[in-house]
């Protein structure tokens, strides 16, 4: 008798609602690191050259600020700063080498050989992806940071009457991009993904623009993807084209940690569908391998009907939530909640 009442009153863990803020923090930190690491490497060059007295005023400013930032952490800037290098494509974090699985896939297909010291650097990301799914796309990818800001900007532009594109294509298309990319890498003998994978391109271009002569050709590519997102299809590149997203979706298909809808609480307001960056259908329990666990749907849900759960598959479509016991007001049912329930009161106001 009490069991359904308990399930109705079950609130998701309170932190899940705030995960989206944490996610924005992580994205910003990763993006700032991509700017900071090239600056630190310039600082390292200056230290190695022992050329403080020969720097121009702007270079002195850079030297001083980087010294200020790094001084608490390093004794010998010339060598100790080697511990943090690279980008999200492939990098070294406090001596641990981490690599995007797509880089390993691309390299194996380009060279027809597995270089194990390199392949093992992708082990940690692969394990994390198997457990948490496509979390890289939502939580770490520096391109996501700009793409999401771009789609937020589109919302503002829509308010001023400038329509942004909202076409939809087949989500499976990115798997084709991945397959074609692997084929072309094998055919040409180069890691072609490096020049069409936004996080790799963005990390490289940030490094080029800060530490070397200036933006390279990848910037053009990235700007084109931004334009594609805002003019043709919202988050179109991530949804339909990104080969890395395809790989992560495949790896995270049977992820353990996933978002679930609590049908008893859901009132079918479809805010979760509207807010989902990847165009999924959380309101009808359709997450699939594509969900990047960004938790925007949890944050936006007015009824606390979204939560994280441990399961290796999505629950099948649980049907519309407003027909669940919580919202059936006229039906006399022994299991229906009493009028004290706040949900019922809200429904009555309507």
């Amino acid at each position: 008798m009490n069991e359904p009442l308990n399930s109705i009153n079950a609130k998701p863990f309170f932190l899940w609602k705030h995960l989206n803020k944490l996610r924005w923090l992580t994205l910003s930190v990763v993006f700032l690191m991509l700017i900071l690491i090239p600056l630190l490497s310039i600082y390292q060059h200056y230290v190695a050259a022992q050329g403080y007295n020969h720097l121009s005023p702007s270079e002195t400013l850079l030297y001083d600020s980087m010294e200020f930032i790094s001084a608490p952490f390093v004794d010998d800037a010339e060598h100790d700063l080697d511990a943090i290098k690279g980008t999200t494509w492939s990098g070294q974090l406090f001596g641990v080498k981490l690599t995007d699985p797509l880089a390993v896939i691309g390299q194996v297909s380009a060279g027809f050989e597995v270089y194990w010291p390199f392949a093992l650097t992708a082990l940690l990301p692969v394990i994390a992806t198997v457990i948490f799914g496509r979390f890289f796309c939502g939580w770490i990818c520096p391109a996501t940071f700009l793409y999401e800001l771009n789609s937020n900007a589109s919302v503002w532009l829509n308010k001023f009457g400038l329509k942004s594109g909202s076409r939809r294509f087949n989500r499976k298309f990115k798997y084709l991009v991945l397959a074609v990319g692997i084929g072309l890498s094998a055919f040409t003998g180069t890691v072609l993904f490096a020049s069409v994978y936004p996080p790799a391109v963005l990390g490289r271009e940030l490094y080029f623009s800060i530490a070397l002569s200036g933006f390279g050709s990848g910037t053009l590519f990235f700007v084109l993807t931004l334009l594609f997102d805002s003019l043709v299809s919202k988050r179109g590149f991530c949804r339909y084209l990104c080969p890395g997203g395809a790989l992560y979706s495949l790896l995270g298909r049977y992820r353990v940690f996933r978002i679930k809808r609590l049908v008893e609480q859901c009132n079918d307001c479809s805010k979760c569908n509207a807010v989902c960056e990847f165009g999924l259908n959380p309101m009808q329990d359709d997450f699939g391998g594509e969900c990047n666990s960004c938790s925007a749907c949890i944050a936006v849900c007015p009824k606390d009907a979204m939560t994280f759960t441990l399961a290796i598959a999505d629950s099948k479509n649980q049907g519309p939530g407003h027909q669940s016991r919580t919202y059936r007001k006229n039906e006399k049912h022994p299991k229906s909640p009493t009028a004290k329930d706040p949900c019922i009161n809200i429904q009555n106001i309507d």
């Binding site: 690491i37 090239p38 490497s41 390292q44 060059h45 190695a48 050259a49 010339e78 080697d82 290098k85 690279g86 980008t87 494509w89 492939s90 990098g91 070294q92 080498k97 690599t99 880089a103 691309g106 390299q107 380009a110 060279g111 270089y115 010291p117 390199f118 650097t121 040409t188 003998g189 180069t190 890691v191 490096a194 020049s195 790799a200 990390g203 490289r204 490094y207 080029f208 530490a211 070397l212 390279g216 050709s217």
Partner: protein, 200 residues
């Protein structure tokens, strides 16, 4: 009518295939090893292996304390786009061997920073002296290249009037070319891939 159309399509397809196989696309893709003179970072694999191994992560340049590693755009063919190179006359390699340690893919092998492993493992190219240009060989004692050489007497020796002579142990770091006071430089690194291509 349908047969004619079929033959037409077939011929178009065939000519497109031939076109792709032979000229243009391949030329745009193929590495122009003869026109560009560049060195790969120390410890790099052979050119083709290097290109298939390198994932364009830029870490070699980030860690290079001498800031001598640069990256190709599309000027050396699409295959080597984004790969690191060293242009010795602008800035040469000081053989610190940090890039090999940081390279995640083994495209640049990790080599110990000692004389023996460096001489054995590193092969960026080999220096060649142009005796018509070299001041020492023209009777004005110079010897700058010898003083710049990190492997002096192993890779480069000087004789009478400090006339430089390159030995087989030269790894091709390019410091001699970088320091040469002649314009154009009298000592030049012949890159390893150029030697390999000419040897064929």
């Amino acid at each position: 009518m349908t047969r004619r159309r079929f033959l037409k399509q077939l011929s178009v397809l065939a000519s497109a295939g031939v076109f792709f196989k032979t000229s243009f696309a391949k030329a745009a893709y193929k590495v122009k090893q003869f026109t560009q003179r560049y060195l790969r970072p120390p410890g790099a694999l052979k050119e083709d292996d290097f290109i298939s191994r390198c994932i364009r992560c830029n870490q070699c340049a980030e860690i290079c304390p001498n800031n001598c590693i640069k990256f190709f755009g599309s000027e050396n063919g699409i295959a080597s786009q984004g790969t690191p190179y060293i242009s010795p006359r602008e800035k040469a390699c000081i053989l610190c061997m940090k890039c090999g340690d940081v390279c995640p893919t083994g495209a640049i092998k990790p080599v110990k920073r000692e004389l023996k492993p460096i001489v054995q493992e590193v092969n960026m190219g080999i220096a060649r002296v142009d005796r018509q240009l070299c001041l020492s060989w023209q009777g004005k004692s110079c010897g700058v290249c010898y003083r710049a050489c990190p492997l002096a007497d192993t890779a480069l020796k000087v004789g009478f009037m400090e006339q430089p002579e390159v030995l087989d142990a030269c790894v091709g770091c390019g410091l001699c070319e970088n320091s040469c006071i002649q314009i154009p430089q009298a000592i030049k690194i012949i890159p390893r891939h150029t030697i390999a291509a000419l040897g064929k």
